[in-house]
């Protein structure tokens, strides 16, 4: 859809994913006219979803067209979800380059389409607590968020009630309960883990809290447990913005969606106020402008920061929001210790189990979350997730026989594998940063990002504790054929929880946006995605991104009515 020339909207939202959807919904439902610019194309379920496709229906049996993936998606292919079924939800790396020092590898996994990465996200939805929001006050490192849990709680409620999150009530102070739909069941491996780990170590084992519906919810049917969420969902039984928040915005009649619109920079008036954005048509490469009284950047942490950095003018020579040199700094991404697991011998079976739960189990953070479980070798903490399941056919490779007898063994001697990994908090460090690489442009002539980030001593010390705990769990679970956890930390960016680079704070000298996500330096520009995180904790950020976005959308609407914008 093309915009009418000089059409002035109340709010312009850049990005249609988890954050943009909530800002648009909240603002439009309060009567503001909202235009949303999305860099990618619309996805059509009947054309682009591959839910319920079997491997034998695909040209490469689900293993992917490796030649094409290596040529056009050499970065994206490293993401577990970028496979033959779902590669269409990830960008072409040739068109979307970025750079990094060769000794500091960074994975930037990106989805550009209406809905952004919400087609492919892992749907894990955990509230942060003041353990995260006020971490600096507890251990003295870095900065607190300018908001506390009680301020965000009603927005967590609002988001969970609207999108539907299944989960169990655990009454843990460090992991607040929410407005949950009934929890998913645990697998037998999960049940065993709960029995063993809770009894031996006293660590809580619970089903993942996921944005999948376990009962019908607001016109959407319950999950039918095909476990193919990242291929799209015809029944809209997990949260993605194109089937949940964006239709709500559209229902108001105040919402305009423009796809294939790649925003390059903000349009700045001589007064220093933003009057809209400059964007490029993805298909025709024509340059266009869109105008609004308020601009909200919700394009994903790094893309929003890239737009701010690229918005250089006489008023903002270093980019909008960068008067103190903070913009681009304090990049974070969770790190993981992966690869650990083994077989549970007494769950080996000749009977095939039903499979399809879209979640596993979680062991919430316990270390450094209260005074009685302190580990002073590092700051902050980690959580585990894992699951157990029957092997499908990977055991066939290990059975040396041939012919009918071999296939009978494959069919009737099904191993049961248990896997567990740890995910830890990355400290916000000023030298983990992104800058513009003026020497390299993307396919639309926009300067690309240079990402310079690495994990430090705190993360490495935490990783040692993670490995020790995993080893103890594997030992106590009495697994066979044990694979120990990897020695290396995951690559920066690999967990696709990139946060920071336009962080939130009270002090304009130390932060980019205020508690309402408004950029300190400019009156009418907001950033609402993961860029604003001051700390990241060890839990997935998307639920908090949505809560912050809902709060910002509401604030914008109220400020608009008051004439402040």
């Amino acid at each position: 859809m093309a915009l009418l020339k000089r059409e002035l909207h109340d709010v312009l939202v850049v990005g249609s994913g988890a954050s943009g959807g909530w800002v648009a919904k909240e603002a439009a439902e309060r009567g503001l006219s909202v235009v949303m610019l999305e860099a990618g194309p619309p996805r059509i379920p009947t054309r682009d979803f591959t839910e319920h496709i079997s491997p034998y229906q695909l040209k490469f049996r689900g293993f992917g067209n490796q030649e094409q993936l290596l040529r056009t998606q050499p970065v994206q292919r490293l993401c577990y979800a970028c496979d033959e079924y779902s590669h269409q939800f990830f960008v072409n790396d040739l068109e979307h380059p970025y750079t990094f020092p060769a000794d500091k590898p960074f994975m930037w996994i990106r989805g550009r389409q209406v809905g952004g990465k919400t087609f492919c996200w892992a749907r894990e939805s955990y509230r942060y607590s003041d353990n995260e929001f006020k971490a600096a006050s507890r251990d003295g490192y870095g900065e607190d968020w300018p908001i506390a849990y009680p301020e965000l709680e009603p927005y967590y409620d609002r988001v969970e009630e609207f999108i539907g999150v299944s989960g169990s009530y655990e009454r843990l102070p460090q992991l607040p309960d929410g407005k949950f739909l009934p929890p998913m069941k645990l697998s037998c491996g999960g049940v065993l883990a709960k029995q063993v780990i809770e009894q031996k170590f006293g660590w809580r084992v619970m089903p993942d809290r996921v944005a999948n519906l376990t009962v019908p919810h607001r016109g959407r049917p319950a999950c039918h447990y095909c476990d193919q969420c990242q291929r799209g969902c015809f029944t809209a039984s997990y949260f993605n913005s194109p089937s949940v928040t964006l239709p709500a915005a559209a229902r108001t009649g105040k919402f305009t969606l423009v796809s294939d619109a790649i925003v390059s920079d903000l349009l700045i008036e001589p007064s220093g106020r933003a009057k809209g954005v400059h964007y490029i048509d993805r298909v025709t490469h024509k340059h266009r402008e869109a105008y609004a009284r308020v601009v909200v950047l919700a394009a994903g942490a790094l893309e929003s920061t890239r737009i701010l950095l690229n918005s250089q003018s006489s008023s903002y020579p270093e980019g909008v929001g960068n008067s103190e040199g903070v913009l681009g700094r304090y990049l974070m991404d969770h790190f993981t210790i992966e690869g650990a697991g083994g077989n549970i011998p007494h769950l080996r079976s000749s009977q095939r189990e039903e499979t399809g739960r879209p979640c596993g189990f979680l062991i919430p953070k316990y270390v450094n979350s209260s005074n009685d479980r302190q580990n002073r070798t590092f700051l902050r903490g980690y959580r585990f997730d894992g699951d157990g399941s029957q092997e499908l056919y990977s055991h066939a490779f290990l059975m040396p026989e041939l012919g009918d007898a071999w296939r009978k063994r494959v069919r009737e001697e099904i191993p049961y594998y248990f896997a567990i990994e740890a995910q830890g908090e990355c400290l916000p460090r000023a030298d983990n940063r992104v800058t513009l690489d003026q020497d390299r442009k993307d396919a639309w002539g926009i300067p690309v990002l240079h990402v310079d980030a690495t994990y430090g001593e705190n993360e490495k010390a935490m990783a040692n504790a993670m490995r020790d705990d995993i080893a103890a769990i594997l030992d106590e679970m009495k697994l066979t054929d044990v694979t120990p956890p990897k020695a290396e930390l995951s690559i920066f960016g690999k967990n696709i929880h990139e946060c920071g680079t336009a962080r939130m704070g009270h002090d304009p000298k130390k932060s980019v946006v205020d508690a309402n996500c408004k950029v300190h330096d400019i009156r009418n520009v907001f950033v609402t995605d993961g860029a604003v995180f001051a700390t990241q904790g060890c839990y997935e950020p998307t639920l908090t991104i949505m809560a912050i976005s809902a709060r910002a959308g509401e604030h914008i609407a109220q400020a608009f009515v008051r004439g402040e914008l």
Binding site: L58, P74, R218, L392
Partner: protein, 269 residues
């Protein structure tokens, strides 16, 4: 823009109704001539409940017809034009190998048969086609791997390790296959005085055993492992292979699959 009905109206489609509708659709999906009617009825019912809806392209509401279409597809799936997914096309007539010469393809087919034992002829054919197609595709993979941008290569090394990437850049399965089929025939003639295909099953199995027990770096061992690996992947991703495994995923489940063993006794089984 048309207004959507309030969410509570859509909520009137209960879980039970959904299950009944979807269950019926799934049951009917494979019956020729019934599906369009059934799907049309579902669509009409869903639309009636929702009222008129106009959404911008890219936004969507829950749909049973899409689900039924995908669940009802059999060997091949027909997608809409413009899809970025490459689906298997129905083959009319005998398969023409893309990599192997016809004679060599017969040898590979026999090796696959020896590995799998007695299987459905369609599944055997799909497996041998996969082995041929995988080898056909391998040249392009090797070329792309060798041309990886240095920055992307460094990322791949950080992710997989140097040894894996080196293997990707240097392994040439096409060369292995081209060299080893004649080598297998030569070995067969030297041992039994006839080519591999002319041998009886016991002799063929002896040769297979010889290949699998050879030194790790022996080309014949590498060739056999290559064929065995792709046979496993090809067979257990075929419809028949998945059926043989009693695979119960990729399905419509009415309720959350979970542990069927009594929770109190999981640890004591």
């Amino acid at each position: 823009m048309n207004q959507l009905p309030p969410p509570e109206l859509a909520d009137q489609i209960t879980r039970r109704q959904w299950l009944l509708r979807l269950g019926e659709t799934v049951a009917l999906a494979g019956v020729s001539g019934v599906v369009p009617t059934a799907v049309a009825e579902h669509l009409a019912a869903a639309k009636k409940a929702r009222g008129p809806i106009v959404l911008p392209p890219g936004l969507y509401l829950p749909s049973a017809d899409h689900l039924a279409h995908a669940l009802g597809a059999r060997e091949t799936y027909v997608s809409k034009p413009g899809s970025e997914t490459e689906y298997v096309q129905l083959i009319h007539g005998p398969y023409q190998p893309q990599f192997f010469p016809q004679q060599d393809f017969q040898i590979v087919t026999r090796l696959v048969e020896l590995i799998l034992g007695q299987v459905d002829t369609t599944a055997l054919s799909q497996t041998t086609q996969w082995v041929d197609f995988w080898l056909y595709s391998a040249a392009g993979v090797l070329e792309e791997a060798k041309q990886l941008d240095p920055l992307h290569r460094s990322l791949a090394v950080a992710y997989y390790g140097e040894a894996v990437i080196k293997e990707l850049e240097t392994s040439n399965p096409q060369l292995v296959a081209r060299q080893c089929i004649p080598a297998l025939n030569e070995l067969s003639r030297a041992r039994y005085g006839a080519g591999f295909l002319e041998l009886g099953e016991p002799s063929q199995l002896e040769l297979v055993e010889f290949m699998s027990a050879a030194q790790a770096q022996d080309p014949l061992r590498k060739f056999f492992e290559l064929i065995r690996k792709e046979t496993i992947l090809g067979y257990y991703t075929s419809a028949e292979g998945l059926k043989e495994l009693s695979y119960k995923g990729n399905s419509y489940h009415g309720q959350c699959p979970g542990c069927s063993i009594n929770e109190g006794t999981v640890g004591n089984v």
